[in-house]
């Protein structure tokens, strides 16, 4: 019984731990809905800005700055500060805090996605008489899809992972199970802590795999090899090289 992994298996095998109010199923629902809202908010903000910056060719420095600054801000700080602002306590502040961390990968990939569009395709579109907005919508946007998908995947996985920290401010989600375990004595809570860790990690890996599949499906066949390049370029953009 003293073996924490054994305890964790025991904890996970108790159906009440899943179906109770505040059990795994409740927490999973919270986790997914918070994450989905945060990613949606991040996309609504980052994609238009990133696409426009990429289209106009300006603001590369801004994209870099956003990545570097958000890297330095602790998640815990945003999670504790935002409820004290006009957002108030509750789900909205948690969602905004997580969305902030979804923005850099979305922004960087949208920006690089448009920037890497073949200049000749762009020139041809202009020669055909397309306006700036039309070039963006009909030429650059479709060519940027693999990058957008790669950014979406990175951002979503990161949000799902970070959402576990919402438990610090009682924001719900699967992290709550881990926190509750730490609230118990470590000898008694060890099993629950590990069980919670397994659930959180398992969800993150599942989401990663599922989105890898989605990314493959939405990427047109001729553009498929571009995915690796997209990830690498976006990583370079973040790294500032």
């Amino acid at each position: 019984m003293s073996n924490p992994v054994g305890q964790a298996v025991l904890w996970l095998n108790d159906p009440l731990n899943w179906t109770n109010p505040g059990g795994v199923l409740d927490r999973l629902g919270e986790h997914l809905s918070i994450s989905a809202a945060a990613v949606l908010l991040g996309c609504l903000v980052a994609w238009p800005v990133g696409l426009w910056l990429g289209h106009s060719g300006r603001g590369g420095g801004l994209v870099l700055l956003v990545s570097n600054v958000t890297l330095a801000i602790p998640t815990l700080a945003l999670l504790t500060i935002l409820p004290l602002t006009f957002l108030g306590f509750g789900r909205s502040s948690v969602v905004v805090a997580l969305a902030v961390f979804a923005v850099p990968p979305l922004l960087a990939n949208a920006y690089t996605g448009v920037r890497q569009a073949d200049p000749e395709a762009r020139d041809a579109a202009r020669g055909m008489g397309l306006s700036g907005g039309q070039v963006l919508r009909r030429v650059e946007l479709p060519l940027a899809v693999p990058y957008l998908a790669a950014g979406f995947r990175t951002a979503t996985v990161q949000v799902v992972a970070t959402a576990a920290l919402a438990s610090f401010v009682n924001g719900g989600g699967l992290g709550q199970i881990i926190r509750a375990g730490f609230g118990l004595d470590i000898a008694a809570g060890g099993g629950q802590i590990i069980a919670g860790g397994l659930l959180v990690a398992g969800l993150a890996v599942l989401v990663e795999l599922a989105l890898a599949l989605v990314e493959r499906v939405v990427t047109p066949r001729p553009l498929r090899p571009a995915r690796r390049r997209a990830n690498r370029r976006a990583a370079d953009a973040v790294a500032g090289t």
Partner: protein, 228 residues
């Protein structure tokens, strides 16, 4: 869902207060020192482990795939889950925090170092071989110096993200400045304490990043001036 609480308008809870900083300078400095030392130790340990791994991945192509795949999977695991896996075995305290942040810093450094090493132009490598450099001589005299920009980028990224990640250590009671942030939240949402912790955190990341950037400039004189 959100409800407004009356004390939010209370002037007794400002966002920043020198009074608080003065009265609690001991606690604040202790937290800052703890945070800085945890970060420094973590990055140092991570670099010492990561560089041999990167060199191994560079020398033995068959190792590169597994090493990069392992670091990629590790990066998907949420930090809180990693704490959850390690805490029951390592207990509550600095060792657990260090282990978690070292693992994350490790993979950032490994990835950038591998990228840096693979960017050494093949002509340079052949020239070195032609000049009679052996495997080790080529590594130490040619490849590592040329990979320095990549390695330094990795170190800087690892340092900045480690500073942010250490705060999660509050879950085992050793979060450095995170301790301050969390205590502020629990002490009736004392904003000045939360803000002081946050600002010091960001400042610490900035200062460490600038120091590393300065060191990088100093040890790569050939990159200064000219086209770059």
């Amino acid at each position: 869902m959100s409800f407004r609480l009356s004390y939010r308008a209370d002037p007794g809870n400002p966002w920043f207060s020198w009074q608080y900083v003065r009265d609690n300078s001991d606690t604040i400095l202790a937290a800052l020192r703890d945070h800085a030392s945890l970060t420094a130790r973590a990055v140092l340990i991570a670099a010492l482990v990561a560089l041999p791994l990167a060199v191994a991945a560079h020398w033995f192509r068959s190792l590169a795939g597994p090493i990069l795949a392992f670091t990629g999977v590790l990066y998907t695991i949420p930090s809180l889950a990693l704490f959850a896996f390690l805490a029951p075995y390592l207990g509550i305290g600095a060792i657990t925090v260090l282990s978690v942040v070292v693992l994350y810093a490790l993979l950032v450094i490994v990835r950038n170092a591998v990228a840096g090493l693979s960017q050494v132009p093949p002509e340079v490598r052949e020239a070195a071989e032609g000049m009679g450099y052996g495997r080790w001589g080529r590594l130490l005299r040619i490849e590592l110096p040329l990979a320095l920009p990549g390695i330094l980028t990795g170190l800087r990224l690892a340092t900045v993200s480690t500073v942010a990640l250490v705060t999660v250590g509050v879950v085992v009671g050793r979060g450095g400045l995170g301790q301050l942030i969390f205590a502020g939240f629990q002490n009736n949402f004392y904003k000045a304490e939360i803000m002081t912790g946050t600002l010091l955190c960001v400042l610490l990341a900035l200062v460490l990043d600038l120091i590393l950037a300065g060191v990088g400039r100093a040890i790569t004189p050939w990159l200064r001036g000219g086209a770059r």
